[in-house]
């Protein structure tokens, strides 16, 4: 859908709402109409909206993997250095002093798991992303204040220049904008 005059391409339609419940009802409508490529934007997390759009996160598994990696590397580091690389007799304690190793294993588990949580969250959210077509919409800045936005992407199989626009117009939104890039 290339606009020959401006060289801009239509990315989707953005509807603006004054309250979360109005947007929730609109989501219901849009979902019923069979749209799949739908995103909702709100100034704070709203469980019902994530729920309505069918969000589920793989993050716990990433964090678990991070934690296990941390624990194993913490143990391996201490075992290798204390038993093989440079064994030292400290206070008659055995080279493989597992009680003494617990602390570092624990810290490494937490460290790796925490990094997995943050980097995993970034990866799953597609961040960092310095540029996004939505930033072209001036009023979208209010999504980080007190407005709610519903975005239907143009690559949705059901997307239609007119019917999608009309559908959004029918909701309780205050304004519909075409997002171009």
């Amino acid at each position: 859908m290339n606009d020959r005059a401006t060289g801009l391409e239509l990315q989707g339609y953005l509807a603006e709402f004054g309250g979360p419940n109005r947007m929730l009802r609109a989501i219901e409508l849009v979902k019923k109409a069979g749209y799949e490529r739908v995103e909702a934007y709100s100034p704070y997390p709203i469980e019902e909206i994530s729920h309505a759009l069918g969000a589920h996160s793989k993050l716990p598994w990433i964090v678990l993997a991070g934690g296990i990696t941390g624990a194993l590397s913490g143990w391996a580091l201490q075992y290798f250095t204390s038993v093989h690389a440079y064994p030292m007799n400290i206070g008659g304690k055995p080279f493989n002093s597992w009680p003494a190793f617990i602390v570092v294993i624990f810290e490494m588990t937490i460290l790796f798991a925490a990094f997995a949580a943050v980097l995993g969250m970034f990866a799953l959210n597609g961040l960092p992303r310095p540029y996004h077509p939505l930033f072209n919409v001036e009023r979208f800045a209010l999504a980080s204040k007190d407005r709610y936005f519903l975005y239907i992407l143009a690559d949705d199989p059901k997307f239609d220049l007119k019917r999608t626009w009309d559908l959004l117009e029918k909701t309780e939104c205050s304004e519909v904008t075409a997002v171009e890039d």
Partner: protein, 399 residues
Amino acid sequence: MTSTTATEARYAPSDFAPPSALAQPQRMAAIVGAVAALACAVGAVLDPAQFFRSYLVGYLYILGFPMGCLALAMLHHVTKGAWGVVIRRILEAATRTLPFMVILFIPVIVGMKELFVWTDPEVLAHDDLIAGKTPYLNVTFFLIRAVIIFGVWGILAFFLNRWSLQQDETGDNRLSLRMQGLSGAGIGLYVLTASFASFDWLMSLDPHWFSSIYGVYFVGGQALTAMAFVIPVALFLSRQAPMDKVFRPSHFQDYGKLMLAFTMLWAYFSLSQFLIIWSGNLPEDVSWYMTRTAGKWLIVAQAIMFLHFGLPFLLLLNTDIKRSARRLSIVAGLILVMRWVDLYWQAAPAMKVAGLHWMDVVMPLALGGLWLWVFFWQLARRPLLPVHEPFLKEALHHE
């Protein structure tokens, strides 16, 4: 503070009258308790010394149920968490068994000479270290301390139960604040008295040894015991009217989280004590662990590590297990068994036992059965929900 009863109460205390089905577990507990107690009575005649040793471990184990429940009740009053409202009557019923626990303490006093080496003048004459502790470790002061300890617990339990009942009758919100105030100070008093109970009744079995974390280690164990006890009781209540419409999976999820927290807390105290003593490696400290990891005791120590902490910890991380009352009760059962193993592992080596005696195993059944009999009797005496609790709505619509 407004102290109003003007707002309409949606429920009356009578809506939550205890079900008659409570009689069934009570009867079972009575039968098991009576049979096991009879067996132990025979054992007492055959081997009195062993009877007292088994009795002390069994008593300290069962003591964890009412005392841990007192601690949880006070914790609930202080934090006003939604988790506590729906189990408050279970906790309160458990604290009302305290007079029964005082009676059960009598055999410990009778058996003092068998249990505590510091009562033996022969030992005192030859052991300067123990003799130096006689200003504290002597029979008179021991008894005075026991009276103070039970007295403090009794006062706390008495007022919490009394005000809770008054709240049912009058619906006065000030009572809720009064219970909160008492509990704030009460938790402090409980931790202090329970610490000295652990020093007297458990640590002084080995009068040479000392560990300043021992008190909180013991308290952590009691809180864990109580949490693991409440879960199966809540499961039982949730299966029939009137509590079936009260308990939700989210409540059990909270109990699971609390049990996980107490498991971790117990493990934290346990590991702290071990790591410090292991690192210092001083003869006066480390002897305690030497006897408890020697020979077959090592297997017990490892079992405690994996079954008291490792396995329950991993299981309780799972949300599905926490939300299922039945599966959570299985984990709670494991923890209840391991609580006894832990106390046995701490106490028995100090008493120089030859090995596991049949009375060691039968005694917790005897005392536990009799205690449960009293507990269910008390549970059936009051409505199962404090309907005038100001945060009731929050607790019922808990997610």
